[in-house]
């Protein structure tokens, strides 16, 4: 392990809270092997734009590490210490530009055959941190609702195949008023366990993400594909400039996107800065989110769950455009005609991934999950007390279905 003291380093790129956190943990950071230190620095650098749940986790990790003896610390990060760096990476300033360092490191790990070793080190640390962590389930059971298939006709293949093993499949749901009922139910949760207007530390718990124009509603966070049309356009314009310049390759583009600021694509101004950064990350780090609304909803849900750990999440998929050549779709050309049947398949898989990602969060044993084929009679419900692998032909309306989950 690199036994270094706190070096004189450039923290000027760090926003205020991040800088305070780095300085407060300077001694610890100086003791860590360089690879692990840079991983932590990358997280610290974005501290000001993190959700409360992420901040808590980062602070907990730093507290955990700071509380270890030197020999314990050596043991828990030894996998990272064993990673060999090359001279050009060693010359990089991981303090000032951890993202740039990580990009170079990733290439090096692949080319030097050390990716397996890195994965093992990361898994070992994650297991250690997880074992030391006090379980922190939400006070209310999480609720995930996924509405799929807007505009699609009957599915060509059975729906919810991957989810059926985990809950009850319904095929006689009365669709009338279903969407309004789901929106209202999710909204009532946000009021009952509400965080609107509260301190930032307890915000971002109730989310609504729509693949088209969001229905009028009142959630902590409401994001829609339509709402981000202008930022998407500005981002694609920037990408086109890079492509047209013929002076940059894929790596340069990735670096450019990583260093982009929300205001550059119209996400500054009056927008909550944490949400502005989050929305920007969906467009700059997500693959396909710029061109397919289905991918946007799936990725936004994944990132929202991983990062904000919400108590309520309502997703509504909309038809994405039909496939056209990537360069055409990225050129800001008018979106192609919609592909509702393909989008139904995409969203069905997206619903499964949302359930999987919810299952990774604290309190998963109490979580409730519902996916519904909008305007149709098929749905799946997963939750405590609902038998796994069952099906029901009972005629139910959406209110009754929700009641089974409560």
């Amino acid at each position: 392990m690199a036994q270094q003291g706190f070096p004189s380093c450039d923290l000027s790129p760090y926003p205020p809270k991040a800088r305070n956190l780095a300085e407060a943990n300077g001694k610890l950071l100086g003791l860590l092997p360089v690879v692990f230190r840079v991983i932590l620095l990358r997280e610290i650098l974005s501290y000001d734009w993190k959700f409360p749940a992420e901040r808590r986790e980062l602070e907990e990790q730093l507290r955990l590490l700071a509380g270890l003896s030197e020999s314990e610390l050596t043991l828990c990060v030894q996998g990272f210490a064993g990673i060999k760096l090359n001279a050009s990476i060693e010359r990089l300033d991981g303090w000032a530009d951890p993202a740039g360092f990580m990009e170079q490191l990733t290439d090096w790990l692949w080319s030097s055959g050390q990716m397996e070793r890195f994965r093992a080190a990361a898994q070992a640390f994650a297991a250690f941190a997880s074992a030391a962590k006090t379980p922190d389930p939400p006070p209310e059971a999480r609720l995930g609702i996924v509405v799929i298939g807007q505009g699609a006709q009957k599915s060509d293949a059975p729906l919810f195949r991957k989810l059926r093993a985990h809950g009850v499949y319904f095929d006689n749901i009365k669709p009338e008023g279903g969407l309004e009922t789901l929106l209202e139910a999710a909204h009532q949760r946000s009021l009952a366990h509400g965080t609107l207007g509260q301190a930032q530390s307890s915000r971002y718990k109730h989310w609504y993400i729509d693949g088209d124009v969001a229905r009028p509603s009142l959630f902590d966070v409401q994001l829609s594909y339509a709402q981000l049309q202008q930022p998407r356009g500005l981002l694609l314009e920037r990408i086109q400039q890079v492509i047209a310049s013929q002076s940059a390759g894929p790596e340069s583009l990735r670096s450019l996107l990583a260093k982009m600021r929300p205001e550059e694509i119209g996400l500054g101004g009056g927008m909550d800065p944490v949400l502005g950064h989050f929305a920007m990350s969906l467009l700059t780090e997500g693959s396909g989110t710029q061109v397919f609304s289905t991918t946007f909803v799936q990725w936004a849900a994944r990132e929202c769950l991983r990062r904000a750990q919400p108590e309520t999440l309502l997703l509504r998929y909309a038809p994405r455009q039909q496939l056209r050549p990537m360069n055409v779709m990225l050129s800001q050309a008018k979106p192609g005609p919609p592909d509702p049947q393909g989008s139904l398949v995409d969203a069905d898989m997206g619903a499964y991934y949302t359930w999987l990602n919810m299952s990774r969060l604290p309190g998963a044993d109490r979580m409730r999950f519902l996916a519904w084929f909008e305007g149709h009679s098929e749905a799946i419900a997963v939750g405590p007390g609902l038998p796994a692998g069952a099906s029901s032909r009972n005629p139910l309306d959406m209110r009754q279905l929700l009641a089974m989950l409560s």
Binding site: G249, S287, G288, L323, R324, D348
Partner: protein, 386 residues
């Protein structure tokens, strides 16, 4: 063996076992046999004029969408036609970099190449095409690569000084051929064939096709540009265009070594699951068509070995650091473990090989089939198909 390598082996073995069980459960492939100790089937007693066709998928497909019960509907040709006629390896492990150009270059050299996946650079080690042409004194028209992606321009030969471009394969990028053929014409009807790079929005720079290049290639293929344009309009994807060019090559030049990289599956990077499934179904159908074309062509029938393999896998749904089918970035065991089908004269039919083999084993095996010595290649000959 360190813990991470041991884990990779363990998961790969489980994956291979599952593939065997999936196939066993399938009625049409009920008679699967296993290979353990045995004598070489025909050793090196190969017919004269032996040929080989290699099909790789740039963009792996996972078992959930292929060999697992819920995925079998997507690969009817492989399950019902190809596997019953060939030997199926359930565990082919790729220990290299999981980018499509660099991984395909590794398959072609038998060494884990470390080149920049997005750069226009040739492999560092001699390619299978160079060994083939050098050792067997074959002309340039006898080895070809058909690849859809821009980055594949340089895959036909290495920058190794003992071999190099003089012994390399001809490389056809059908998309570029079509784009050039459409010069001064509207490409609106062909847009769907002009896209094949899904790993990055920025394409790798490519060597320009001159008018002379286009006409020389068209002349070699005895392809009227008008007919090419007309036929292309009837095709559904870049991979269909690639197979069309491959079949034209087979009819006109009958190359002894033909390498085709399919790429439609990699649309998975866009996150659209339905398009990824479409890519799998199309690749499956095209492999079936190619095998039938081989059987129906007197220049190929009875003396051609066909190898079909993805360059690597995709991330597992259960790998938290990934996003399921969309990418192959996590480096988890499933993204490294894939499979291979081998068909041809003397290759045992309806047989499954469970032992783990390496992606690098392809080149030494091609060397044994065609009769050249890949001196720089690593990996072992796959004795089950020799």
């Amino acid at each position: 063996m360190n813990a991470s390598v041991s884990l990779l082996h363990e998961v790969s073995a489980r994956q291979g076992w599952q593939r065997r069980e999936f196939l066993r459960a399938l009625g049409g492939v009920a008679g699967l046999g296993a290979l353990s100790g045995f004598a070489p089937l025909r050793a090196m007693n190969m017919p004269r004029g032996q040929k080989a066709v290699v099909v790789t998928f740039g963009g792996g497909a996972r078992d959930e969408e292929t060999f697992a019960p819920e995925g079998q509907e997507n690969i009817p040709y492989m399950l019902r036609e190809l596997i019953p006629q060939g030997t199926f390896y359930t565990q082919v492990i790729n220990r290299g970099i999981l980018g499509h150009y660099v991984a395909t270059a590794s398959l072609a050299t038998g060494r884990y190449e470390t080149l920049d996946n997005f750069a226009l650079v040739p492999p560092s080690h001699a390619t299978v095409f160079e060994y083939f042409r050098h050792d067997l004194r074959r002309p340039a028209t006898d080895a070809w690569v058909i690849a859809p992606s821009n980055g594949f321009n340089c895959i036909g030969s290495s920058d190794n000084r003992s071999f190099g471009a003089n012994f390399g394969a001809g490389v056809i990028l059908p998309k570029h051929l079509l784009a050039a053929a459409l010069q001064e014409q509207s490409s609106v009807d062909y847009e769907h064939l002009l896209s094949d790079n899904y790993e990055s929005p920025i394409a790798v720079p490519t060597a320009a096709f001159s008018v002379e290049d286009i006409h020389r290639t068209a002349e070699l293929l005895k392809l009227s540009l008008d007919n090419f344009r007309t036929h292309a309009r009837s095709l559904a994807s870049p991979d269909e265009l690639s197979v069309y060019i491959a079949r034209t090559l087979m009819q006109q030049l009958s190359p002894s070594l033909l390498w085709i990289t399919l790429h439609d599956i990699d649309i998975a990077h866009s996150g659209a699951y339905s398009l990824y499934l479409d890519g799998i179904r199309r690749s499956d159908r095209l492999c079936g068509e190619l095998w039938r074309a081989i059987q129906n062509d007197p220049e190929y029938a009875g003396r051609t070995t066909l190898f079909i393999l993805p360059d690597f896998g995709r991330d597992s749904d259960l790998e938290a650091s990934g996003n399921g089918f969309q990418h192959h970035r996590s480096g988890d065991a499933l993204s490294r473990t894939t499979w291979m089908i081998v068909l041809g004269p003397g290759v045992r039919q309806n047989v499954v090989v469970d032992r783990p083999v390496d992606s690098l084993d392809l080149v030494p095996t091609l060397g044994a089939v065609l009769g050249f010595s890949p001196t720089q290649a690593q990996g072992q000959r796959l004795h089950e198909v020799l």
